[in-house]
């Protein structure tokens, strides 16, 4: 109450037009806080940009590959001396025989296009072709014996050093110091490119082919790793989504609160923090040594990753269920819905966006997980594609992150490029999963 005898000349605290000291301090604090926030975001964005730029700049070239375009005479005298086209006899001719045909074809092509070769022996020229090339031609012939005796246009891989030269990884300087490639070979490569015999093009086989040995990085692909990772994700999704959601619903809505459920709760939180390699040891002991499942199999990888993913799905799923306002449960129970109906008609739809977010984060982590897979033998070198589902789950396979790890271990710098390319593939898969999650989440999101 103001005293009527002393009416204040000005309102207490001064005019509204000039903010007082307290307000100024508050506004300054707010401005500072905003600045911290913006700085934090900026740092995160810059780190992300650097990461993306470095991966993209190293990795995109892995999707292109250098090929030689050669007409190869498939000489009957070499490939089928008996002339019977008997598959068994054809198979007896090894890649050495095919290699000779390729060398001959390359020599003829060089001569025909009038390129002068200086300082290169026959073997120097043949080393410019990938060791994989002979196998490519051989399998084409075995698939279609009628080709024997004709001359066919083939697209064969160039060796990794020539490929590196085309992409700028190998230079004249580095070639001078490199025992695997000489400057003269690079000159020849330039000449071949000028004649249109050599060029780079998009390489689907990087995505579809199996891994290759140390000596032929140009032929290495991600096919089996992608398939293995996909199989494992199917196992993880099929097991951890129903189990995780059921466990969360039970613990949140039905379980009595007692010591036992408290214990379970603590253990789930602990499991989420257990290092993933521990799950690998567990998987090795249980699934391979005890249950006798095969090594390197996606099913074992999937089971191990499921164990690892479950707590990481259950915790956000429970949080999402808990966040549904209790008044919704009261409303449903109040009109005579059973507990089960309340949960499935009202609570679960409202919790779905949160559950999906947790699921995608869990699956993303599982997709990128390497350590536990090393322990269960997924690191093995696999050349044969696993079969289709479900039998393929038990065939040996690789996994994307393990393949990346594997390639970075290898000496040839061409594998470093392929590892970056594989990281790009992994990131694309993660982005696709996140996009799918956003789409599904949108469909479930509701206001309340």
């Amino acid at each position: 109450m103001t005293d009527a005898a002393f009416p204040p000349a000005r309102p207490r605290g001064g005019s509204l037009l000039e903010p007082d000291a307290r307000t100024l301090r508050r506004n300054a604090a707010e401005a500072r806080f905003r600045l911290y926030g913006v700085t934090a975001i900026a740092i995160a964005m810059i780190a992300l940009m650097i990461l993306l730029i470095s991966i993209l700049s190293h990795g995109t070239s892995a999707f292109r590959q250098t090929f030689l375009h050669l007409p190869i005479a498939l000489d009957e005298a070499v490939l089928d001396p008996s002339g019977t086209r008997d598959p068994a006899a054809l198979r007896k001719v090894t890649t050495i025989g095919y290699g000779r045909l390729i060398d001959r074809a390359l020599g003829e092509a060089i001569a025909a296009s009038g390129i002068t070769v200086e300082g290169l022996g026959k073997s120097d020229i043949s080393r410019m072709v990938s060791r994989q090339a002979a196998a490519t031609v051989r399998s084409a012939v075995l698939a279609d014996p009628a080709l024997i005796g004709t001359t066919q246009e083939f697209r064969i891989l160039a060796s990794s050093r020539i490929d590196g030269y085309m992409k700028g990884r190998v230079t004249q300087d580095s070639a001078a110091r490199d025992s695997n490639v000489s400057p003269a070979q690079l000159h020849l490569a330039d000449a071949l490119r000028a004649q249109g015999l050599l060029g780079t093009s998009f390489n689907w086989r990087f995505i579809t082919d199996p891994d290759a040995s140390e000596l032929r990085p140009e032929a290495a692909g991600l096919g089996i790793a992608i398939l293995g990772s996909a199989y494992m994700m199917i196992v993880v999704l099929a097991l951890s989504l129903p189990i995780g959601v059921a466990a969360s619903i039970y613990l949140e809505e039905f379980a009595p609160r007692n010591r036992f459920t408290d214990l379970i709760e603590v253990n789930i939180s602990n499991l989420a923090a257990v290092p993933s390699i521990v799950f690998g040891i567990l998987g090795l002991a249980i699934f391979i040594n005890f249950a006798g499942l095969p090594q390197s199999a996606p099913v074992v990888g999937g089971l191990v990753l499921t164990l690892m993913t479950l707590p990481r799905i259950i915790i956000p799923a429970r949080a999402a269920i808990k966040a549904v306002p209790p008044s919704i449960r009261d409303a449903a129970l109040g009109v005579g819905a059973s507990k089960m109906q309340t949960v499935f008609h009202h609570v679960l739809p409202l919790a779905t966006p949160g559950i999906l977010t947790g699921l995608i984060i869990g699956l993303g982590q599982a997709l990128g997980e390497t350590a536990p897979l090393l322990l269960i033998g997924m690191v093995a070198f696999v050349r044969d594609y696993p079969e289709g589902l479900p039998g393929g789950l038990f065939d040996p396979a690789s996994a994307l992150p393990v393949q990346i790890y594997n390639w970075t271990q290898r000496a040839d710098p061409a594998f470093a490029e392929r590892a970056s390319g594989a990281i790009i593939v992994l990131l694309i898969f993660l982005l696709a999963m996140n996009a799918a999650a956003i789409v599904v989440r949108r469909r479930f999101e509701r206001r309340w």
């Binding site: 008044s327 409303a331 129970l333 109040g334 009109v335 005579g336 819905a337």
Partner: protein
């Protein structure tokens, strides 16, 4: 008033729907309801009045066992619906709640369409056989809750998009749609304007011709207007219970008198 006259003429006064005896409710260490005896008559409106925090909602929630959902809540004593003890081990609270419907103090529509809000109860209880029948139930329920005119053109809109008062009437429609035998209403008009309040009171009066209604209210006028019996709660005790006309004109307990006249509460 017309509701008074109807009580005196048509309805059997001794027809008891719910009988509560020596009801005690504890929330952990908090003794929220102490030794309450109340009879809810069929085809009558019973009003619960009393200051905030005295236990009106708590007692109301005992009548359809909504307190079961609160882990710390413990109910003792005996509550009989048509002679059956509703806290008997054999009683399924889900079945009980289908008979004893409830409108909550805070409006809590489902985050679904207006139509689905009202249709949910009849659907899960299998009350209708065809879509047309369901449409009819939804329409009559919304009409009774005095909401039909406002929402008939947007039944597919989300119920959560309505105003607070409209949401409360939607909740009333939802409770009415399952045709309960007893309807518990916890301050159904606290968010309503006088027109909607009058409509809801009309609805209560109409419902009373078929089932028992219990209403919690902070408005003395409302209690006097709509109810036949009134219970006055104070600090968890049932201080006075009797015919509304007697409680309001001639209270036996001094606490009731001071509350009604606005001296406590």
């Amino acid at each position: 008033m017309n509701d008074m006259s109807r009580t005196e003429t048509g309805v059997n006064l001794t027809d008891i729907k719910i009988a509560a005896r020596k009801v005690q409710v504890h929330y952990g260490a908090n003794h929220a309801i102490k030794d309450v005896d109340v009879d809810i008559n069929d085809r009558m409106v019973t009003a619960f009045i009393g200051p905030s925090g005295c236990g009106k909602s708590t007692f109301l929630r005992c009548l359809n066992r909504m307190n079961d959902t609160i882990p710390v809540c413990r109910v003792e004593g005996e509550i009989r619906l048509d002679g059956d003890d509703i806290y008997d081990r054999r009683v399924d609270p889900v079945q009980l709640r289908a008979k004893v419907g409830m409108v909550f103090q805070k409006p809590n529509p489902f985050p679904k369409s207006i139509y689905d809000n009202v249709a949910y109860g009849p659907r899960i209880h299998g009350l209708t056989r065809s879509r047309a029948e369901l449409d009819e139930v939804v329409e009559t329920s919304l009409r009774r809750a005095a909401l039909w005119g406002e929402v008939k053109d947007r039944l597919a809109a989300p119920g959560t998009g309505l105003s607070g008062g409209q949401q409360q009437r939607l909740c009333i429609a939802r409770a009415v749609a399952t045709s309960p035998e007893v309807l518990l209403m916890d301050e159904p008009c606290s968010a309503l304007d006088p027109i909607a309040t009058a409509q809801v009171e009309e609805l209560i009066d109409e419902l009373r011709s078929r089932f028992a209604v219990v209403i919690v209210t902070h408005s003395m006028q409302q209690a006097a207007r709509v109810s036949q019996n009134t219970a006055f709660f104070h600090l968890g005790n049932l201080v006075e219970f009797g015919e509304t006309s007697q409680v309001f004109t001639n209270p036996k307990d001094p606490r009731t008198e001071s509350y009604i006249t606005g001296r406590i509460g």
